[in-house]
Structures are given as C-alpha cells and as structure tokens.
C-alpha cells in the first residue's frame, strides 16, 4: 500500500481501478514538401485553423450551458492565441521558407515560443504557455487528423490518473464513467479543480508523480476530502474507506432530501437558512441547494486579478444576474471588503504591506477614502435592485460617523440615478456587519441608522480575543466558545431584536455543527452558511428545539470557562440531539 499526498481539489471518496491517461506526447516527423505543393500545405494548415476555431465555438457553447459565463472567458483567451501572428503568420512562413510539412512548422514555432517562456522568471507569465499548448495541441490533432483524446470512450468505471487535465478535458467528465481523478499538476484554485467541484467529482491534484506510481488496473482509493491517493490499499484500508463512502453516501442521501424543505425546528419554528456566495461561479451550486436567500454575497472576487476596478455596467451585470436567479429570495450584497494591497493592484494609490492589515485601512475605511470606487459599487447595486430582493451590507463599521458617511454617499447615488431616470424601489435596506467590538457595544445607536445586521464571527472573535489566527503562536487561542464570545453574541442579538431589526450570522461559526445550537438558541433570524456545509447545518437546525437551545444558551451564559461551555455542548451531543453524533446514529448500521 502506498499513500501519496496531494492537494484536495474536490471532496468525496472514490474506490476503483486506475486508468492512467497517457500524456498526449505527439511525435511530429519532418517531411520535405516539394516547391509545387507548398501552397497546398499552407492551405491544409489554414483548414486546421478553421477547424480549431469551430472546436472553440463548440467548447464555448458547452461551457456556457453547463458552467456559466465566467468560465467561458478562458475560451476567449484561446481564440486570441489562435489568431496570434506567431501561429497565423509564422507557421505559413516556415512552411514556405523551410519547405516543410505544416505539423513540423507548427511544432517548431511552438518550441521557439516555449523556450522563451521557460526562461521567464515570473511564474505568472511563465505559466501562460499552458494555454498556448492547449491551443497548439488542438491544432496539431486536426493536422494529423487525430481525434483529440476522448474520455467518454473509457467504458468501465475508473479513477482517472493523468499528468494534467485541461479544462477542455474536464468539461466532458460528467458524461463519462469516471469516478474521480488525480493529477500530477494543478492547484486548488485551478480551473480544473473548480470544474470538478461544480460537477461533484472527487479530485486530488498536485501529486507531482502519481502517473509514474500508478499503473492502469491498479486498485486505487481517492480521498478528495484529505487529498490522498492510496495505491494498492490493504483489504482493511479498502473496508475502512468503503464504510466511510457508504456513510457519506448515506448522509448525502439523507441530506439531499432536505433540499427545498423549510428549515423547521422540532418545536415548529421556521428558520431562515442562507448561503454565502464567494464567487459568482458558485451560483449554480448555490441555487441547487434551494436556500432561503444569499445571506452574504462577497463581491471581492469581482475585483480580483485585474488592473482596473470593474466598471459600473460590469458590476450591474454581475449583481443583476444573482438577484434575478435568487428572486424572490433575499440577496445581501456586501460592498467590497478589500485591503490596500488589492487597491494597488487595481492601479489605485493606497498603502500596501501594512504592518497590521487587520487593524489597517480596509473595508468601509478604505471605501470612504475612495468615494468614487464606493459610489460606483453602490450605483451598480442600486441598479440591480429592480431585478430582485437586494439588500446592501457595509463591512468593518466601527463608528456612527462611518455609517452616516456611507448613508450620505448612498443617498447621493440614489439621487443621481433618479435624475438619470432609473427607477428604484422606494426602500432599499442598508445593513452593517457587526464584526468590530466597538460596533457591538454601540449597536443601539447604530441601529437607528442601520436596517439590519450581519454578525461576522471570524473577525469579531479575533478582535474580541486579540488573536491573530494566522499567527501560529496564538492561533489556538481563537475560540468561538469563549464565554466572552457567547456573551457578546447574545447581547448583539438581543439588542437588535429589541430594535426590531433582522439578524443574520455569517462566518465560519455557522458552519461549525457544535456552534449551531448556540446560534439557534439566541434566536438569530438567518444562518448564512458556506455551500458545502449548508445541508448539514440545516439538518442540525431541524433536529433542535428552539426552547431547549435557548435554555442551553442561558446555561452557557452563566459559565466562566470555555471548557465548561464545550462540556455542556458535548453532553447535548452525547444525548443524541444531533444527527450523526450521538449513540442513536451509530446504533444501527444498514446492510
């Protein structure tokens, strides 16, 4: 048995026979072309170009249909490469001047470019050559009249092992019998990983040499949760994973029935279950969960990997799309919570490399410093309001003046739009993140100007306990069950409800099964959860009674120590109150 550790790219367990995909090493022979036939050879190359264009159109349609517009941008890049003079001009010139076949001319041209790229020190620029290869391969296979490898021909269920899977390969996986895949190359945020997640295929990437260590036909366990590939596992290991697989399939099935069901507690209280949306690409996954709303739409992703902030109309498109897809449910759009580093990338003058970014110029502080950027986003959100149920959320509020200044800019944006003849709903709710202790303590005042609140537990806990979670020396002190945290959370919810305001909680605490009874007991209105944990958390909510959860909170509030609170919680879990934890769940193993 060999265990190879890689990067977990897409969760789930797969057990089966390996199918090692041979790297598409295409061998190109040099053939001399007689003078009289050179024009024919160039023509043949042009035909291959046309065929490749058609390939890309076809791939684009497929991506648009199955994965959405965001992913389709990749195809645009490939089109630009295909129309690059290095290919369209250089190759015909080589054919004619060297009197060689098109395949050879093309591979020589690609090799020249590759050599230059290999020497580039900057990884970002160097990695762009993979796009060139993807396009180059398509072209070559047309010239050689060779079918591009077709994974749908793998006719038995198998675990795919490959050097690298190009996005164009991955798109097809859903139509195959492939149970999961493992690759030498790739990272967690690669296109291929994102595609695997949205197709719910277990995957491990970045294994560096898995293709050399596995042979076709070997039995393999793929553990997408922990990023492991186990080759020739012992019978015990197989049994263990089969059990786990069964268990997770069983759990998934149980969870699956919860899609679209209202989250009602055992004592009949309906609970709003929201989802956090980090990148617009995840919208499809989110919609499939049928949540009661998007409790937190983080808009930072729109500002990533670019040298200029997105224009108003680009933002309008993104927000409108989400608002429309979710209507009539609520979408809480949080204005961009960015730090100075990001702004510098966007070509805006801002401090970078702050000594203490968590206490630095970020969130609302930064937006108020750059009112143009802020107003553009507010205008874009406002313009999307007509298409759904949109609310606006302000990050990092620590004082009344920040809230008032934001409100003022918001009013200006509204007036501008009305003057431009844009129709706006009468009332658009604007809420604040409660994640800085000062906001928590000043909440009664802030609520005179804020329509709702969202508690950001990650930052709130960090600031309350003065713990930087990235600092390994103190990270263990980060504790959602610290009595102070429980106390402050409970006060926040109570204050908000006294003012008749809606409370949502986002942040990792909502995804911690042990913390859910606390939050339910406090009576928050919405839990906004990461898509992966959504159904699981919903299941817990549905297994609780609000009355006993509230009792649990009052008991916890009397305790002085985190350990005591956690013990109380464990007692609750041991009593079998939560599915999948207590003895009730382990008692009967279905055959």
């Amino acid at each position: 048995m060999i265990v190879i550790k890689g990067v977990p790219a897409s969760p789930g367990i797969a057990i089966g026979k390996a199918y090692v995909l041979e790297d598409e090493e295409i061998i190109v022979n040099k053939t001399e072309i007689p003078k009289g036939k050179l024009r024919m050879e160039v023509k043949r190359f042009k035909a291959a170009l046309d065929a490749t264009y058609r390939d890309l159109d076809h791939a684009e349609q497929k991506v648009l249909k199955t994965l959405g517009r965001q992913h389709a941008k990749l195809i645009d890049t490939h089109r630009l490469i295909l129309s690059d003079p290095l290919i369209t001009k250089d190759v015909p010139r080589r054919i004619e001047s060297e009197q060689v076949n098109a395949e050879f001319a093309l591979s020589e041209a690609l090799e020249t470019v590759n050599q230059t790229f290999e020497k580039i020190e900057d990884e970002f620029f160097r990695e762009r050559r993979h796009d060139l290869f993807d396009v180059g391969k398509r072209l070559l296979s047309h010239l050689l009249k060779r079918e591009k490898r077709d994974l749908t021909t793998i006719d038995a269920p198998a675990i795919l092992i490959a050097r690298n899977l190009l996005p164009s390969d991955t798109i097809n996986l859903k139509e195959t019998k492939i149970l999961g895949f493992a690759t030498d190359l790739g990272g967690k945020s690669s296109h291929t990983a994102i595609l695997a997640q949205s197709m719910e295929i277990p995957a491990v990437v970045g294994l560096s040499d898995v293709t050399h260590r596995v042979k076709t036909g070997d039995t393999v366990v793929l553990d997408g949760d922990h990023g492991l590939v186990i080759v020739s596992p012992t019978p015990e290991a197989v049994t263990k994973y089969q059990k786990e697989q069964k268990k997770s399939i069983r759990e998934e099935k149980a969870l699956d029935t919860l899609r679209g069901q209202p989250a009602v507690t055992t004592d009949g209280k309906h609970f709003q279950m929201g989802v956090n949306l980090d990148v617009p690409e995840e919208l499809k996954t989110v919609l499939a969960l049928k949540p009661d709303g998007i409790g937190l739409f983080r808009t930072e992703a729109l500002f990533l990997n670019r040298t200029e902030p997105p224009s108003e109309s680009e933002q309008v498109r993104a927000y409108t799309h989400v608002a429309k897809s979710m209507a009539p449910h609520t979408v809480v759009i949080r204005v961009a919570d960015m730090g100075g580093d990001r702004l510098v990338q966007l070509g805006i003058d801002a401090p970078k490399d702050e000594a203490n970014p968590f206490m630095g110029l970020r969130g609302i502080r930064l937006l108020l410093r750059h009112p143009d950027l802020f107003k553009t986003q507010l205008r874009a959100i406002l313009r999307s309001c007509a298409y759904g149920n949109v609310r606006i959320l302000l990050p990092m509020i620590s004082s009344m003046s920040e809230l008032r200044a934001s409100r003022q800019l918001f009013a200006t944006a509204q007036q501008e739009l009305l003057a431009e003849g844009v129709e706006l709903p009468k009332k658009i709710e604007m809420g604040i993140m409660v994640e800085i202790p000062s906001a928590a303590l000043l909440l009664d005042h802030l609520l005179t100007e804020a329509d709702f609140i969202s508690i950001g537990t990650n930052d709130l806990i960090q600031y309350l306990l003065a713990v930087d979670r990235i600092n390994e020396h103190v990270a263990h002190l980060y504790d959602p069950f610290h009595p102070t945290v429980v106390r402050v959370l409970s006060q926040i919810v109570e204050t908000a409800h006294r003012h008749g305001k809606w409370v949502s909680v986002c942040g990792e605490m909502t995804s911690d099964p042990r913390a859910v009874p606390l939050l339910v007991g406090m009576g928050v209105n919405m839990l906004s959860v990461s898509p992966r944990m959504f159904l699981r958390v919903k299941q817990i909510v549905m297994s609780l009674s609000t009355a006993s959860a509230a009792q649990f909170v009052s008991k916890a509030l009397t305790l002085a120590d985190s350990e005591d609170i956690q013990r109380l919680l464990n007692d609750l879990l041991d009593a079998g109150a939560l599915p999948g934890h207590g003895p009730a769940a382990d008692g009967h193993e279905p055959s």
Partner: protein, 88 residues
C-alpha cells in the same frame, strides 16, 4: 514613416494577458508595423504571445517602433492605453 517612443508599464501585474490583448487589438486596427522591445528582446506588437514573452512587469520601459502611413495615429492610440492604465 517611422516613429519611436518609450513607454513605461505602470500596472502592478505588468503587461499580462488582458492588457496585452488590448494592446494587440489596438495595434491591429492600424496598417503600420508595430515592434515592441524590452531590453534586447524585440517582438511583434500585434502578437499577444509575443508581448507576453516580454514578461513586462510593473515599471519596465518598452520601446516602440512603428512603421507605416498611420504610424503616428497608432502611436497616439497606444499611448492613450498606457495613460489610462489599460482600462477595460
């Protein structure tokens, strides 16, 4: 007609895919030839892969040499692109 100019890349990520594509699209609108050089490497300014090969990071100087009837006009347009930090 031949015109020359040296332009500085100001974007933090340098002349990466998106700006390079924009450069190529702009250059492609004109008949004149566009050569772009960084240090000793010179590439065709109408080729995106070419421009990427320069790995022109923030702060680097690019030497442009344009030749053809509409070279002046092309240079003006390209300069604007640099001035506007390659907006989209």
């Amino acid at each position: 007609m031949t015109v020359n100019a040296t332009l500085k890349v100001k974007n933090r990520l340098g002349l990466h895919a998106r700006p390079a594509a924009l450069f190529v699209q702009t250059a492609g609108k004109f008949k004149c030839s566009v050569k772009v050089a960084k240090g000793e490497v010179e590439v065709n300014g109408k080729s995106m892969m070419g421009l990427m090969m320069l790995a022109a990071e923030q702060g680097s100087d690019l030497h442009l040499a344009l030749e053809g009837d509409d070279a002046n006009q092309a240079l003006e347009e390209l300069k604007k692109l640099f001035d506007r930090n390659f907006d989209e």
